[in-house]
Assembly symmetry: C2
C-alpha cells in the first residue's frame, strides 16, 4: 500500500540530504502509508500521541497504537515500510500510551549523524526530545510541507480510492434528489443523506460539509441545523465523504417544489459556469485563468460574484493544491484531481451552487462525480 508514495518521498528526501526524519502531520502520514485513523469522534484516547512515521535508511516505519493493528496490516507487508504498534488500552496498569509510543520510537531510531527532518508544526515537543535523546544530539531541519508537491498528481491506487469515494457522494445526492424536502429541516435531510451513504458503504463514513436553506443569512455554507425548508425554498447540499482517508466533494442545489423563475435562471447560469470551467480543464491550464473565466461568466450574467474559491485540489485533504483562486499561477497537470464549484448567492434570499470533481487527463478532463445537478 502506497509504496509509490514512499519511493517518491525517499528520492526527494535523499536529494535534499535528509537521511532521517520524523513525520506527524496527519496528511503526510496518510499519504506515506495509506493508513488513516478514524476521525468521527476525535482521536484515540489511549494512543499517547499521533500516528508517527520514522524515516531512516530509505525505510519508513509507522508507529501507531495497537487499536489500529488490523488497519495497518496491508502496510506492514511492504518491503520499504514496517509497522510497530504500541500498547494503548489496558486494565492491568495505568494508561501510558505516550510511554509505550516513546519506547517504540526509540527502538526504531538507529545511530548516525547528519540532519534530521522534522515536521515541526505537527511533532509534539516531547517526541522531538525523544529523537534528540536517542541520537545524543541532532541537527533538526523543518520539513513541513516538503512532500505536498508530490501529492499533486494522484497514483492509480489513489484514483481507485477517490472513485469509490465519489460514488458515495453520488449516493448521498440521490437520497435528496429523489425525496421531497418541503417541510423537512436541514438536519432531517442531512440524516437521510448520511444514512444512505453509510448503508451503501456498509460502514461508518465521516460526512461534511454544508446543508443550508436559502433564507439563511449566510446561505453559502454551514452545518445543517433545525431550519425548516418551506415551499419555495432551495437547499444547497455540499457533501464530502472520507474513505480510506481520502476526501470526496460534490455540491448540488435542490428545491422545495417547482423552482421559481429566478431560481431556475440562477441554476442555469451556475450550471453553464460549471460547464465552462470543465471545458477549460486540461494540462497546461493556469489555475487563476480558470478562476477568472468563471467569475467573469457569473458577472456577465448580472449576478454578484461568489466570495469563495472557484475550486481546489483534493486528496488526503478536502481542500489542497492546486487552488482555483485569483492569485494562483499553478499549472494543471494530467493526474491532478480538482473540484470546480461556481455559485450565486443573494444573502438571505436565494442561493445555488453546483460542483463536480475532475480528473485532469492527457487532453481534457474526466468528470468523477456522477450526481444529477440538473434543474428539476
Amino acid at each position: 500500500m502506497h509504496q509509490e508514495q514512499r519511493q517518491q518521498a525517499h528520492a526527494y528526501l535523499q536529494a535534499k540530504g535528509v537521511e532521517r526524519a520524523l513525520f506527524a502531520n496527519p496528511y503526510t502520514v496518510k499519504w506515506l502509508t495509506g493508513f488513516a485513523p478514524p476521525v468521527q469522534v476525535g482521536f484515540n484516547f489511549f494512543a499517547g500521541g499521533p500516528p508517527l512515521v520514522w524515516y531512516e535508511a530509505g525505510h519508513f516505519t509507522l508507529l501507531v497504537v495497537d487499536a489500529y493493528a488490523a488497519d495497518t496490516a496491508a502496510f506492514d507487508e511492504q518491503v520499504d515500510g514496517a509497522v510497530i504498534t504500541h500498547l494503548g488500552y489496558t486494565i492491568e496498569q495505568p494508561l501510558a500510551g505516550a510511554d509505550h509510543l516513546t519506547r517504540a520510537l526509540r527502538q526504531v531510531i538507529g545511530g548516525g549523524s547528519g540532519r534530521v527532518g522534522l515536521e515541526q508544526r505537527d511533532v509534539p515537543v516531547y517526541f522531538q526530545s525523544v529523537v534528540h535523546d536517542a541520537l545524543g544530539a541532532a541537527d533538526f531541519v523543518a520539513v513541513d510541507g516538503w512532500l505536498e508537491p508530490l501529492r499533486l498528481v494522484k497514483t492509480a491506487e489513489e484514483l481507485a480510492k477517490l472513485r469509490e469515494n465519489f460514488a458515495l457522494t453520488d449516493v448521498g445526492h440521490a437520497a435528496v434528489r429523489y425525496s421531497s424536502i418541503a417541510g423537512k429541516r436541514e438536519i432531517d435531510v442531512w440524516a437521510e443523506i448520511h444514512s444512505a451513504i453509510q448503508q451503501a458503504a456498509g460502514r461508518r463514513v465521516p460526512l461534511g460539509n454544508d446543508c443550508v436553506v436559502s433564507y439563511r443569512e449566510n446561505n453559502i455554507g454551514g452545518w445543517p441545523l433545525d431550519y425548516e425548508i418551506r415551499p419555495g425554498d432551495s437547499l444547497i447540499v455540499d457533501l464530502s465523504t472520507i474513505l480510506y482517508g481520502y476526501w470526496s466533494d460534490s455540491c448540488a442545489t435542490y428545491y422545495a417544489g417547482e423552482p421559481t423563475p429566478q431560481q431556475a435562471a440562477m441554476h442555469r447560469t451556475a450550471l453553464q459556469a460549471l460547464e465552462l470551467g470543465i471545458s477549460l480543464v486540461r494540462p497546461g491550464a493556469v489555475a487563476r485563468e480558470i478562476d477568472q473565466a468563471l467569475r467573469q461568466f457569473i458577472a456577465a450574467a448580472g449576478y454578484p460574484v461568489y466570495p469563495h474559491h472557484s475550486g481546489h485540489g483534493i486528496g488526503v485533504i478536502g481542500h489542497e493544491a492546486p487552488r482555483i483562486v485569483p492569485y494562483n499561477d499553478e499549472v494543471l497537470q494530467a493526474g491532478m484531481v480538482i473540484m470546480l464549484e461556481p455559485g450565486i448567492y443573494l444573502p438571505g434570499q436565494a442561493a445555488v451552487r453546483v460542483e463536480d470533481a475532475l480528473l485532469v487527463t492527457a487532453d481534457g478532463a474526466e468528470v468523477l462525480t456522477k450526481h444529477d445537478k440538473s434543474l428539476p
Copy 2:
C-alpha cells in the same frame, strides 16, 4: 463559560510557581474554555495549528481560527479570559494559518522571566519556538496532565452539559429498542440510531462506540459493519455522543426476536451486576473494590469475567479518571460522574453488556442514563 475551571487552574498554577503556560491538549483546552471544535471530519484545514490557550498574569487567552469565532463568543465575555481569532480561509492569498496563529500568539505573550509551562506532548515544536523567541529565552516546564485532577469533580455547568448529552443517548437507545432488528445489518441499525439522535438534537452530533452482533468473533465491541442480524442473534449497542465537547456513554443489548433461555439468563446476570455496582457507588468507595465486586459477581454466576474495565470516569474525554479497574486505589468523591458497564461474552456465540452513567451524590448515586436496559 467555564470561569470556575479557569479559577481553579489559576490557583493551581500559581501554587506551582508557573506564571505563564501554553496549553494545546484538546481536552485541556475544552475544559479551560468550554470551546470544542467540531471533530466529525477531523480538524480545520485552514487553522494552521491546534486551538491554543496562553496563560499569563492570571488570564487565559484562547487562540483559534476565525471559522470558530461564533462558537467562542461566550468565552470572550468572561473577565478572566479572551479570544483571539486568526485568519484561516481566504482566497486573497496563499493559505498561511500557522503564520497568522503565530502572529496572534506573539501578540498575547507579555514579557517577564520565570518558568513557562508547556503541554509538551501536545504543543508542536514550532509553537514552542514561537514562545521561546518571544520571551528571548524561556525555562520550560512540562505541565502535561497537571489539570487532569481538577476535572474529576464536575461543575454545575458541566453537569448540565452532561445531562443534556445523556438524554441524547437515551434517544438513540429508544430508536433500537422500539424497532425490529432481525434482518437488518449492524450499519442499518446504527444509521437509524444516528438519525434519531441528530434529529432530536437539531444538529450534527458525533457518535461512537460499538454496534456488534453476537456471532462476531470479537463480540465485545467494534464499529458497525455489514454483518446481518439473524433471528436469535443479540446486538450490543454502546453509544457515546459528544455535545459541547462533553462525552456521554451508555450500553444496552437487544435481541432479534425472543431472547433464548441462555440469553435471558446472561442478560439478567449482567443487570444484577450493574445494580450491585450502582449500590456500591458513594463518596469514599474505592474504585478497585467496585471493580472487584462486579467481577466476582459475574464469576460466581458461572460466567467468564469480562476482559475490560468495570467502568470509568467521563467528561471532556469519554474514558478518564477514575478508572474502575483492578489496580486503581482512587476514592470516589461527590460530583464525579462515572460509567459502570459489566458484560458477559462467549466469543462468537453470545454477548451482553449493560451500562449506566452515575453521578456520585452526597450519599450514593444518581443514575443519569434513562434508557431501558431490561430484558424484553
